[in-house]
Point group: C2
Chain length 673, copies 2
């Protein structure tokens, strides 16, 4: 199958493009950040994506080990090209290689999740932020250039959420100035690290540090696990792949058992906490900083999720413009399914979500870089806020996106179920993000805890970070707020609704404590309400970020046409939230039946307003066909031809009669017992 | 891996079983319908499931064609055993073979969805209900015994929902008394039929019937597609597998192109509409009856979905009793995750749903058999009602179940993502049911149309079927209804809420018609509201069926202990609906903040009440370990050992170093450009 055109544009798609009310190029420049960035992205498209000789989904019917092999090959091929390009354009810098390795614009040339995803999302930063300068020289630089491939091993077979429960231990031996690492039980086997199975030759191991058999704290150790020349596992290392999963076929998630594995003292990452040669333990100023790699993982999760959803929107919009079903009267042509209101309701709010989470991702990275700079200067103050924000945005982006991708897949009917549509793969890959770098429910509870603390401070009149300042507002403040239905009014009311939920959770916990429950019991018994409060807090943040983009100062740099498109998308995004949270809202403010009917009418109007621009907006995401690797989503809209060609090339069809007919089926069908 | 015991019961699971408040055996007898049925099921378990030599999920990492082959082998093996058993126990009858072929109690011995699923769910009945007595003699009996394997080809590459749009045509040739079948375009290729690819040798083809080039109606034709001896495709037949999908790896969904394929006149299924030898077309009394096969498909979908959810509940409950995470204080053992309120909220309402949909399935089959008997006697009156009911229950069961399965999978954290947990497979298989035999959104719109018609009749005082009689009640009737929160009160109010939604949709359509919109436009522009109305109608039906079981006459045949368990599950089931539909409810009746807080409190209490029985209830579903084929869900609870063994046996781990290290990875890592 050739995804690269040479085929005529489907007239239905062309017609959609002709009737767009705005300049798609302007949208694309905005989406990628600037004209230059868009230009470079397109250059990369032609340099890397046009040069892919095999579609990634073609490997899907292979064996697990063959899919892994194909994955490694594509990763190496892309890495080579990036390295060459870096050397050609800006030698000595790192913005292209490895800077672009994780970019979603390379998806399709390599698998979105692959054996080096963790290496590039977490490892280099982990060594830089948690290791000493010498450690960065020794390991970090080699990791950056993929001279060593490294996994991050924290989770164990029996332990995930609760880090204090990790069983892997590192005992310091002051005689030889070495740590001795062990996974003493089956449940302490490291389990899940991406790339660990057959790919990595190094691994950052998170372990309980013991000095003189006395427990100190968790610590991170750089452990060589395979020989650099032969790739054979080193002595004491029991390693392998955890087996097939729902998705992530090439990620090579692995397990690791350690038996008396010794590493030199200077293999413990010691920028913060330290073990001196004599075994003296020196605690750093902040213990939370060692979880920075997971925090980065959450930033990456938000970013990837946004890309995933934008791609799924593109596929579903184009397919819905091409697919025709049912006719109003017998003689006329069947109707584009994109004209059905129910179909629009599946797609358009997701376009709004894709944009919302693209914006939150930008914001989150910005906060990360600021905090990261602060930490480098020894200031850890903004870490708790960044932690809460990253948890909150990771949860909302991954869960909304994975639900959105599935909604969009279902919107493509039967053909959406084909592997060649690629929406199923997007779903199973996206779905993993709801669990990794912190289970979404656990993270919401973490946010809930943060909100409870902030609430106590806020009502005591203490200073709180800006993102939770609204907690000061209580239901009483509503006296001055009536429902008017403007965006500003809705945002304000959403804040009050969130604040009210947190107040309610706080009061329940208080009541339970007074009735004699322990803190843990009271917290647990309020869990369901607390995660609702945390979710609402997240909704407030996401909506505010989107609103700021639409109505803030950056609007003046865009044309009125583009601004109108973004406003339309914000409108549907906000209405969608409001209508889902209506009962929460009705608990703090009166909305009349007429006002609710008006909201529903606004939603209907909003669908109609977006309709003529839907395909063009997705064109504005400017994804290369290969990014989406979808028979349904190509730019030219030749959907049926591609599905047909993909089916014909399926290996099951290589022979007219399968062998199993003769060996099993026929003997049974012919025997009448 | 051996799923068949020999391992000690995990003490946490044993402890759960010890503290159950009811008799699990009594529950199991109730679930399976009687003591005899349970006994026979257990006999089958030992006869068939204990004798499976390879776990089905072991095939998951194979190539697509290898998985298909393994699927056929397992289907043939099970079929042989069933046939043998039938012959042994009740020769000449059909209750075991093929009667039990589709039973979910055989899942794990064969794949839940396999190349003969459609053959046994739709074909035999289709021939019997739509064919003549001679056709049943000729094809039906052979199909029943799998002497021929048959697919049902309706959907086309370009056509699904809109049957009038199907392009496959059958032209009658009165000279030779034959039909000539053609798929004249690419989009008219039959696409998706289960078993069609490489398995079936016959096929029921749905085509536009033309006589003398004059279009009559859709008709169904029995077409031989492969030679019975060689299995080679017959002349004019272009056939194959549609390629890998999100799930359903062994179903062998196929495509079919027909070029001047001739079949004798008596191969058109002619019990109702007929073509006489001279080409005279005789229309039967009812045109809708030809869609009966799809209706049966919807009954099967409801039934399978219920089993799927019950199995997923079993896996998640057992795993959550075994898995421990976080400790309240540093010294004590970590907590069973089943003790977390948030975890309970993920699992317990799904147990309620599993039971609800088991009950609706029973009810739906009962209605089907009644209508089927009526049709045999020439009475088609109850067909529209059965049609609407089957659409409604198919939509709610499949969408609730697939969401529930995914919620339960996510509740199992990272390990839920392993293929060996089998929850991912359950999800992708279950998810297909949201599309096949009618896309869920399209079906809801169909129900919506039915409700609008019924509403008009109801308010005009005409007689309407009992399931929609409540539409007579309007908001005004609420004057006599106050919120009291009893089950009866809640059910009554749910009806009024549903009736109100339908009234609103009706009024919107009326308004749009008056403003000059065509009927199709007005209907489309009300689509979003209409599917909400249809969904609410479904909620009323499901809740009423569950309520009837709990409070109806059958309660007197159960012990008070079992009744209490079912009541607890109904309570959480109902509260879960109510709290999700709160804003709809608040639009027709005033509920005070205190009353809402009370509902939330009832939910919390309900979780606590179910907690001690959760594992035992799932034990009461009495699934054989192999039904679930899950490392997380086995009866003995030895979760970690099984995950460990499954990982070790993964083929990627067969060699310590993969070849691709030497061919690709190392050269890249070692080259410094």
């Amino acid at each position: 199958m050739n995804f690269l055109g040479g085929k005529q544009i489907n007239p239905d798609l062309q017609n959609e493009r002709n009737k767009a009310t705005f300049d798609v190029e302007e949208f694309a420049k905005w989406w990628y950040g600037s004209e230059e960035k868009l230009k470079f992205k397109r250059f990369l498209d032609s340099y890397i994506l046009d040069d892919v000789d095999e579609d990634i989904f073609r490997t899907q019917h292979l064996r697990h080990d063959e899919i892994y092999t194909a994955g490694i090959k594509s990763c190496v091929k892309v890495s080579k090209k990036l390295r060459k390009l870096q050397d050609l354009l800006r030698p000595g810098q790192k913005d292209i290689w490895p800077g672009l390795y994780l970019s979603s614009n390379l998806w399709g040339a390599l698998p979105p999740a692959n054996p080096f995803s963790v290496h590039y999302s977490m490892i280099v930063d982990a060594i830089q932020k948690l290791g000493t300068a010498e450690q960065y020289e020794k390991f970090g630089k080699r990791a950056e250039n993929l001279e060593i491939a490294c996994a991050f091993a924290q989770t164990e077979l029996g332990h995930g959420t609760y880090l204090r429960g990790l069983e892997t231990r590192a005992d310091y031996d002051p005689e030889r100035e070495e740590f001795i690492l062990n996974t003493p039980t089956m449940t302490s086997y490291k389990w899940w690290p991406g790339g660990l199975g057959q790919t990595a030759n190094y691994c950052i191991v998170v372990a309980q540090l013991y000095i003189g058999n006395c427990h100190k704290d968790l610590a991170l150790f750089m452990v060589q696990i395979r020989d650099e020349e032969t790739h054979m596992p080193l002595p004491g290392i029991d390693i392998g792949d955890v087996g097939k999963k729902m998705g992530f076929p090439t990620v090579n998630n692995g397990y690791l058992g350690l038996k008396n594995v010794r590493v030199p003292r200077n293999h413990m990452l010691m920028r913060h906490d330290q073990v001196l040669p004599d075994g003296t333990y020196v605690k750093g100023p902040n213990t939370a900083v060692k979880f920075l790699p997971l925090l980065i993982g959450r930033c990456v999760a938000n970013e990837s999720s946004a890309s995933l959803l934008a791609m799924a929107c593109t596929i579903a919009s184009r397919y819905s413009a091409v697919r025709r079903q049912c006719s109003v009267d017998a003689d006329s042509q069947e109707v584009q399914i994109l004209n059905y209101q129910t179909q629009q309701m599946k797609i358009f709010p997701e376009i709004g979500n894709a944009i919302a989470y693209k914006l939150t991702s930008k914001k989150l990275w910005q906060c990360y870089y600021e905090t990261s700079r602060d930490i480098d200067e020894g200031n850890y103050d903004s870490l708790p806020e960044l932690h809460a924000l990253s948890c909150c945005l990771k949860v909302l982006s991954t869960s909304d996106v994975v639900n959105g991708v599935e909604r969009l897949r279902l919107a493509c009917g039967g053909h959406g179920y084909l592997s060649s549509a690629n929406l199923g793969n997007m779903y199973v890959d996206g779905s993993a993000a709801c669990t990794y770098e912190g289970d979404n429910t656990v993270l919401l509870l973490t946010v809930g805890r943060y909100l409870l603390k902030s609430y106590v401070k806020a009502i005591a009149g203490e200073e709180v970070p800006s993102l939770v300042a609204y907690l000061r507002n209580t239901v009483e403040d509503l006296a001055s707020h009536k429902w008017t239905g403007t965006w500003e009014n809705i945002l304000r009311i959403l804040e009050i609704v969130a604040a009210n939920k947190i107040r309610l959770a706080f009061e329940r916990i208080e009541k339970r404590l007074k009735s004699g429950q322990t803190e843990a019991e009271a917290f647990n018994n309020t869990g369901v309400e607390l995660i609702k409060a945390a979710e609402l807090h997240g909704r407030v943040i996401v909506a505010s970020i989107f609103y700021e983009e639409v109505k803030g100062s950056s609007a003046s740099f865009r044309s009125p046409q583009l601004n109108r498109v973004l406003e339309n998308l914000f409108e549907i995004f906000l209405l969608n939230i409001i209508l889902k949270k209506l009962s929460d809202i009705q608990r703090v403010i009166t909305i009349s039946e007429a006002e609710i009917l008006d909201l529903e009418k606004r939603l209907e109007t909003s669908l109609k307003t977006i309709r003529p621009d839907a395909v063009a907006i997705c064109d504005g995401f400017d994804f290369h066909d290969r990014n989406m690797s979808s028979t349904l989503g190509c730019y030219d809209g030749n959907v049926y031809q591609r599905i047909f060609e993909a089916a014909k090339s399926n290996p099951l069809n290589a022979k007219p009669v399968p062998d199993v007919f003769h060996t099993h089926l026929k003997p049974f069908m012919k025997s009448k017992l």
